[in-house]
Point group: C2
Chain length 136, copies 2
DNA sequence: TTAAATGCAAAAGGTTTGCTACTGC
DNA sequence: GCAGTAGCAAACCTTTTGCATTTAA
C-alpha cells in the first residue's frame, strides 16, 4: 500500500540543501535557496516535497512557536535549541536520554513511542550582538 | 512599563474554563465552551485573552504539530503527551529532569533558560477504541 | 474619567489543494 | 505508458488587527 516516490530534480535539490546546512531552515528559506538552481520552482512544490520526505522518514519537521515549521535533514531523534530572540533553531549535541519513554509509559495508560526535548534561551549570535550594542 | 490588565467577564470565564479542565484545549474549543456563558463572545476576544494570560505568565501555550495551539491552565513547567491519532494533549506526571538545562548549557555558547519535553504515542482512549473496533 | 477590552469583520500568514501539463521510471 | 509530480493560483485555517463602542477600576 506504499506509494512509490520519484526522485525529481526538485526533490533532490530540496533534500541536498537541507542536508548541506547546519541550521534548520523554514520552507520559505529553502524555497529561496532552491530557486537559485530552479528559477521556475514553486513554493507549493517545496511544501509538497518536504511533506513527502517527512512522511517517508527522510527528514524531520520541527514546529516551535505557532508560526512556521523548521526542517531538519536528520531524521533520527536528537535535541534542539531555539533562540527566543531570533527564532533560529540549532542542534544540541546532548546524548538521548535513555529509558525516558519507558519511564513515562508506566505513569498512565498511554502507549508512548517517541519523545522530543527542546531547549530555549538566547543563542550565541544574539548574545554577541547584545554585547556589541551595549558598547555604543 | 507594565501594562495594567483588567479582569473582564470574558477573561475570567476563559481562565475558569481552562483551569477547570484536565485536557489542554484549543482556542476554538474554549470559545465554544465560553459562548454558552457569553453568547455574544467573539473568537478574537478569546485569542486576545489567551495571549494576555500567557504573556502574563498565568497560562502556558503548547504548540505541537503545525496546526492549532493548545492551552494549559498551569503555567509552571511540566511534561506533556500528545496522541498521534486524535491530537489530544495530556499532562504527564513525570518529575522535572533536574540539571538538564545546566548540562545542555555546557555544550555550546547558547544561554539556556528553559526546556520542554513532550512524548508521543497513542492515548488510552484511542487504544480502547482500536480494541473495540477489532471485535467487529 | 479614561485606558483597556469587546465585537465585528477584514486581513494576514503559513500551508494545502485542484487542475492541467509534464516527466521519471 | 502511466502514475507521480510540477507549476500556478485559489482556497484554507488559524491567528491577528483596525476601528468604533463599551466597560472596569
Amino acid at each position: 500500500m506504499e506509494r512509490i516516490q520519484r526522485m525529481t530534480r526538485q526533490k533532490k535539490i530540496i533534500l541536498d540543501i537541507l542536508r548541506s546546512v547546519k541550521t534548520h531552515p523554514t520552507a520559505e528559506w529553502i524555497y529561496q535557496e532552491a530557486r537559485q538552481q530552479i528559477p521556475g520552482l514553486s513554493l507549493g512544490t517545496v511544501y509538497r516535497n518536504l511533506n513527502l520526505l517527512r512522511d517517508n522518514g527522510e527528514i524531520m519537521e520541527l514546529n516551535y512557536g505557532s508560526s512556521q515549521s523548521h526542517f531538519d535533514g536528520t531524521a533520527a531523534n536528537h535535541y534542539h535549541f531555539q533562540c527566543r530572540e531570533c527564532g533560529g533553531v540549532y542542534d544540541l549535541d546532548l546524548p538521548l536520554i535513555k529509558n525516558i519513554e519507558t519511564k513515562a509509559s508506566g505513569i498512565n495508560g498511554h502507549q508512548i513511542d517517541g519523545h522530543r526535548l527542546e531547549f530555549y534561551g538566547i543563542c550565541e549570535a544574539c548574545l554577541d550582538r547584545r554585547r556589541f550594542e551595549e558598547n555604543d
